[in-house]
C-alpha cells in the first residue's frame, strides 16, 4: 500500500478481519448492539442534551462503565494471550498521534454535530430502526461529510 494512505489511518491495512462464520456473528452482535443503544437511551437527543448540560450523571456513568469493562477485557485478552475464533493473535492497531491536530479539530467538529443531531454514528442507524426515518437524511449527510474529508484530506493538517 502507498505511504500516502498509511498517513491517514490503519483501517485499510491488510489486517485480519472477521470472515466466514464471523460475519454472521457480527450481524448478531450488531443486532444486540442496536438493542443496547436503544434500551440504554443513548440514542436519545434528550439524553445527549442532558449530558452536555451536566444535569444527570447517567450518560457519564454509562460511558465510564463501558470503558472500564472494555479496558479490563482488553487487558485480560493481552495477559492471557487469547486468540480469535480462527486462531489469530488478537491486537488493536494503535492510532498514530501525528501532530494531534486531526484528533483535536476533527473531534471538535464531530462534537458540534453530535449536539446538533443528538446522535453519534451508531445511534443514527439505531434511530432509523426506531422509526425516526428522517435520520436516513442525516446518514446521507454524514456520508457527504466523510466524502468531503476524503476529497480534502491531502490538504488538511493532521
Amino acid at each position: 500500500m502507498s505511504t500516502n494512505t498509511a498517513r491517514y489511518d490503519s483501517s485499510t491495512n491488510q489486517r485480519q478481519v472477521p470472515s466466514g462464520i464471523g460475519l454472521f456473528i457480527c450481524l448478531i452482535l450488531g443486532i444486540c448492539f442496536g438493542i443496547t443503544l436503544t434500551k440504554s437511551e443513548v440514542v436519545s437527543w434528550f439524553r445527549i442534551q442532558e449530558m452536555f448540560r451536566f444535569q444527570s450523571p447517567r450518560m457519564y456513568e454509562i460511558i465510564a462503565s463501558a470503558v472500564v469493562v472494555a479496558a479490563v477485557s482488553v487487558a485480560l485478552i493481552k495477559r492471557l494471550g487469547l486468540k480469535t475464533i480462527t486462531g489469530e493473535p488478537i491486537s488493536i492497531p494503535p492510532k498514530r498521534l501525528q501532530h494531534g491536530i486531526r484528533y483535536a479539530v476533527g473531534g471538535t467538529i464531530f462534537g458540534l454535530g453530535w449536539a446538533f443531531t443528538g446522535a453519534c454514528p451508531g445511534p443514527l442507524f439505531a434511530l432509523v430502526g426506531n422509526g425516526v426515518s428522517v435520520m436516513i437524511v442525516a446518514i446521507a449527510s454524514a456520508m457527504t461529510g466523510t466524502w468531503l474529508y476524503g476529497l480534502l484530506t491531502p490538504k488538511l493538517p493532521h
Binding site: 478481519v17 460475519l23 456473528i25 437527543w45 456513568e61 484528533y103 426506531n130 461529510g145
Partner: protein
C-alpha cells in the same frame, strides 16, 4: 418482561456496551467503531478517483457493515418491545429545553426537529442535515467516533483517542451553550 420494556439502568447498559469490544476482537480482530462504515459506504457507493476511498471495502469493512445493519435491525426490535415512551430526562433539562421551544418530549428525539416536514425549517435542517454533515466530516477527520475513540481507544489507553474525546466534548458544549439557543 419488565426488563425488556423498561429502560436499562446505567450499571447494566454501560458494561454491556463495553463487552462489545472484546466480543468483536475475539470474532476476528474486529475493532468496535461505527463511523468507519460511513467511509465503507462512500467507497461502495462512489469510489471515484479519491485515494481515501480506493480500497477493498468488502474485505476490510464487510463485517462492520453487517454490524451496522444489525444496529438498525436491533433498534427496530427494541422499539417494538418498548412502544412510544418518554425519555425520563431530569426536570431541569426539560425546563431548559422548554425555554428553547421544545415541547414534545415523546419518543427518543423531539418531533419539532426530527420529522420530514421539519427538514424544511431552519432548526430541522440544522439538526438533521448540518448535524449529520459535521458528524460525517468530523469522525472521518478524527479517525473515529464515540465507539471507536471514547470506548475502543480509551479502553486501550491511546492518547490520540483522549484528545479526540476532549474535542467531542468541546464541540458538544460549544453547540449546546452557544449555538442551539440561536436556532431553536
Amino acid at each position: 418482561m419488565a426488563f425488556l420494556s423498561a429502560p436499562w439502568p446505567w450499571y447494566f447498559a454501560g458494561p454491556v456496551i463495553g463487552l462489545f469490544v472484546p466480543a468483536l476482537l475475539i470474532v476476528g480482530n474486529g475493532v468496535l467503531g461505527v463511523s468507519a462504515n460511513l467511509r465503507h459506504l462512500c467507497s461502495a457507493a462512489l469510489p471515484g478517483k479519491l485515494e481515501y476511498f480506493r480500497y477493498d471495502w468488502k474485505r476490510t469493512g464487510g463485517w462492520n457493515l453487517l454490524f451496522v445493519a444489525g444496529i438498525l435491525a436491533g433498534g427496530f426490535l427494541a422499539s417494538r418491545w418498548v412502544g412510544p415512551q418518554n425519555i425520563a430526562i431530569s426536570a431541569q433539562t426539560r425546563l431548559d429545553l422548554a425555554k428553547l421551544g421544545i415541547h414534545d418530549f415523546s419518543g427518543p428525539a423531539p418531533r419539532e426537529l426530527f420529522t420530514w416536514p421539519a427538514l424544511l425549517t431552519l432548526k430541522g435542517f440544522i439538526s438533521v442535515v448540518l448535524g449529520g454533515f459535521l458528524v460525517g466530516f468530523g469522525t472521518a477527520y478524527a479517525g473515529g467516533c464515540t465507539s471507536g475513540h471514547a470506548i475502543s481507544g480509551l479502553a486501550d489507553f491511546q492518547l490520540p483517542s483522549l484528545i479526540a474525546v476532549a474535542g467531542f466534548f468541546a464541540g458538544g458544549l460549544i453547540a449546546t451553550y452557544f449555538i442551539l439557543p440561536l436556532y431553536l
